[in-house]
């Protein structure tokens, strides 16, 4: 509680912008109710003094810098897979374009086999699948314009398109965070589900003069301490069971996604669905941050319809992800802009037809 109070008392003093009227009352409600005994009251309040200290950490948005951290590795299998496919194009020495395409497809399937190993990789299985499918689609999209049957020319073209796609994938998180930062207003209280890299990256990119507090639904304190230590963001880790109590005092809900289904629903870490239902019931906006390479062709009708190998953990056999229907989602923030759930399908139709 100490930290939050501290934070709040600081907010009105230090920031010039007027708070949205709902914010103070909301936080007053929660402060007595949810006694958080987080010891370090400092981190979020004094960003201005700390500003000169970590400028280097705040600037880099590129993956390489983030790679050392264990949390952030989870998203990179996608880039690795796309690079692998690029290599396939590069090293192909057959004589037909069709051969190259079928080789790409088999390589994409091989990716599938490899990545079932560790839990971290299971998490990005869907994203790798959809990214590979999109890569192949993009790489072959312009082939019809080439008249010559010269394979090397086609390969060149595919390589060029493929590189463009890779670049888009690499820059997607940067783009998303640029969009999503605008959703976070001064004094916002944000409920975050899971340790999605995109969400954390977005929170990190919020300008220094915006004060906000973050509640992360997680099993461990790893992320919280990481954030407090590195980015001076006020983070409190909450259990799943606290979501209902906390929701009324929240301003917005941010979640990532493992995959976005064709109808604009998302497949994400288990617990997203109750969170989404709760936020809809209390009329809090729920934003999903997802890169466009996660747009998959899955179309689950209900929970049961999610393929079992995705739904369940391979080792523990416990449910790992759930499916959130589009009606609970306010909109998706993607590197193609802010999309309503229905717009996802529109994008996919335009891509695949």
């Amino acid at each position: 509680m100490g930290r939050k109070k501290h934070h709040k008392s600081n907010v009105p003093q230090s920031q010039p912008k007027p708070l949205p009227s709902s914010v103070p009352s909301a936080s007053v409600n929660v402060d007595p109710g949810g006694p958080s005994i987080d010891p370090p009251p400092q981190p979020s309040l004094p960003p201005p003094p700390q500003n000169p200290v970590p400028p280097v950490q705040l600037k880099p948005v590129k993956m390489p810098g983030a790679l050392e951290d264990p949390i952030l590795v989870a998203e990179t299998p996608v880039l690795a897979a796309v690079r692998a496919l690029l290599r396939v194009i590069e090293t192909y020495n057959g004589s037909t374009v069709n051969g190259l395409i079928s080789e790409l497809k088999s390589a994409a399937n091989a990716n599938n086999v490899v990545k079932q190993g560790t839990p971290v990789l299971t998490k990005s299985k869907l994203a790798v699948d959809s990214a590979c499918a999109q890569f192949i689609r993009y790489a072959t999209l312009t082939l019809s314009s080439i008249e010559a049957e010269d394979v090397s020319k086609c390969r060149e073209q595919m390589m060029c398109e493929g590189l463009k796609y890779l670049k888009r994938c690499e820059r997607s998180i940067e783009k998303i965070s640029r969009w999503a930062v605008t959703l976070i207003f001064d004094g916002a209280r944000i409920l975050v589900h899971g340790d999605s890299f995109v969400v954390l990256e977005t929170l990190r990119c919020v300008p220094k003069n915006i004060y906000f507090s973050v509640f992360i639904v997680l099993d461990n304190d790893k992320v919280a301490t990481f954030f407090e230590d590195n980015y001076n963001i006020d983070v409190r880790v909450v259990r799943d069971a606290e979501v209902g109590t906390l929701m009324e005092s929240m301003d917005l809900v941010l979640v990532g996604a493992e995959a976005v289904s064709k109808n604009g629903g998302i497949i994400n870490r288990v617990g997203t669905l109750p969170l989404a239902i709760c936020s809809r019931e209390m009329h809090k906006p729920m934003y999903v941050l997802a890169e466009s390479f996660k747009f998959s062709v899955l179309y689950p009708l209900n929970q049961e319809d999610v393929p079992e190998e995705i739904r369940e953990d391979e080792i523990t056999k416990r449910i790992r992800v759930d499916y959130t229907p589009p009606k609970y989602i306010t909109f998706l923030v993607t590197d193609r802009g802010l999309l309503t759930p229905t717009a996802v399908c529109d994008e996919l139709i335009e891509l695949y037809t």
Binding site: N263, L301, N302, D305, T342, D346, I349, E350, Y352
Partner: protein, 400 residues
């Protein structure tokens, strides 16, 4: 028996709102429209139709349209009678039959001397169709296929070196191709996509049965997927239901699936225990509404209430770029012939309130979980994109 029921419900007196609507109607049509022998006034195309008369032979029906001032071509006339009497049922067969009639019309078309074949044919066809629209309900699938014929006629290359017979052959070929690609192959494609969504152990409630629904269920049973079928029956849909049940009446298939037929009024109790609702669509609007047999909306609402997914099967040739807010904005109910036939003798007067028997309703997109089409599984709101993409494609094709 149906007629009996109709008359009963008529005598029961319509609810107040119906009456007010009827008043409006009466004001608009002060002369008593059912008495007009030939309603030459062109109607908007209609997707609704009244009446549920059991099949009657066309010869038995005295169609008032016979006296219409410009005579309708006999080919189309017989279609008009069959459609308005429900002899030709379902959007698919209506579309195919109409195209068949157009083909015959093209084949037998005699070119007036001194005119261009393309232009005079297209003008005559248009005139005939406008007349047809006044005489029978004109389904979305029919108007889409008509649009196709007219536009392909328009785009035909009428060079010096091409004889009328060549052009004729081309057009007939194109129509055949349309029927094959858009109607027959579409059903096959829908079956392929639909099979993904039928899991062993499902209890599937079925209503608004179309060709695609029958094909999908048959294929699923043939593939050995064990599922239970709950067929919702209404007097209007007995024809389709008996077709479905006949096809499933097969000793091998009977081992795989279990079929129950229940009345519409029992749907609520069955819905609690079923896992999916499967419906066939007759049209899809840009606002995501699905046109299907009357009662589909209610069932979809039930399904939404019990949190069961509602699946619609709808071919892309039934997509339509209109967005009616309710089904009364489509406004047309039935041809004059049907109305006269259905009325019991004693109630045939102008004062009798107009009570439409609705054959179709529009399920709003919020109640539709998925629409399985021949190009993909889509949320029903994506219709405009599909239409746009299709248009873009055909433009490219025409240009090349």
């Amino acid at each position: 028996m149906d007629c009996k029921e109709d008359s009963k419900s008529n005598s029961g007196g319509p609810p107040a709102e119906d009456k007010s609507r009827d008043d409006v109607r009466a004001q608009r049509k002060p002369n008593g429209w059912q008495k007009q022998p030939g309603r030459a006034k062109p109607k908007k195309e209609s997707v609704l139709q009244l009446s549920t008369t059991p099949n009657r032979l066309p010869e038995q029906i005295s169609c008032c349209s016979a006296e219409a001032s410009p005579p309708l071509h006999p080919l189309f006339h017989s279609i008009a009678i069959k459609i308005s009497n429900n002899v030709i049922r379902g959007a698919n067969s209506r579309c195919v039959k109409l195209l068949g009639a157009i083909k015959d019309f093209v084949q037998s078309y005699e070119l007036p001397p001194g005119t261009s074949w393309k232009h005079s044919l297209s003008a005559d066809l248009k005139a005939s169709m406008d007349l047809l629209k006044t005489q029978c309900p004109f389904a979305i699938s029919m108007s889409n296929s008509l649009d196709f014929v007219l536009s392909s006629l328009h785009n035909m290359n009428e060079g010096e070196d091409r004889s009328v017979n060549d052009l004729k052959g081309d057009l007939l070929k194109m129509i055949d191709q349309y029927v094959e690609e858009k109607v027959e192959k579409a059903v096959e494609a829908i079956v392929i996509y639909g099979l993904e969504k039928i899991a062993p152990g499902d209890k599937i409630m079925v209503y608004s049965i179309t060709e695609a629904v029958i094909a999908l269920l048959l294929k699923a049973a043939e593939n050995g997927i064990h599922f239970e079928l709950i067929v919702i029956q209404t007097p209007e849909s007995m024809e389709e239901i008996s077709e479905l049940l006949n096809k499933l009446k097969n000793p091998i298939l009977n081992k795989v699936i279990e079929v129950n037929s229940v009345n519409f009024s029992n749907a609520l109790y069955r819905m609690v225990h079923c896992t999916k609702l499967l419906l066939g669509g007759h049209g899809l609007f840009t606002n995501g509404g699905v046109l299907a047999q009357a009662g589909s909306g209610q069932l979809a609402l039930l399904a939404a209430t019990y949190n069961k997914p509602a699946l619609f099967l709808c071919e892309t040739f039934k997509f339509c770029d209109r967005s009616p807010l309710d089904l009364f904005s489509l406004d047309e109910f039935i041809s004059g012939a049907m109305w006269n036939q259905n009325q019991p003798e004693n109630s045939k007067n102008d004062e009798e309130p107009f009570e439409p028997k609705i054959m179709f309703d529009v399920t709003p997109s919020t109640l539709v979980t998925v629409v399985i089409t021949d190009i993909d599984m889509l949320p029903s709101n994506s219709v405009p994109v599909v239409l746009r993409v299709q248009e873009g494609r055909s433009l490219v094709k025409n240009a090349s």
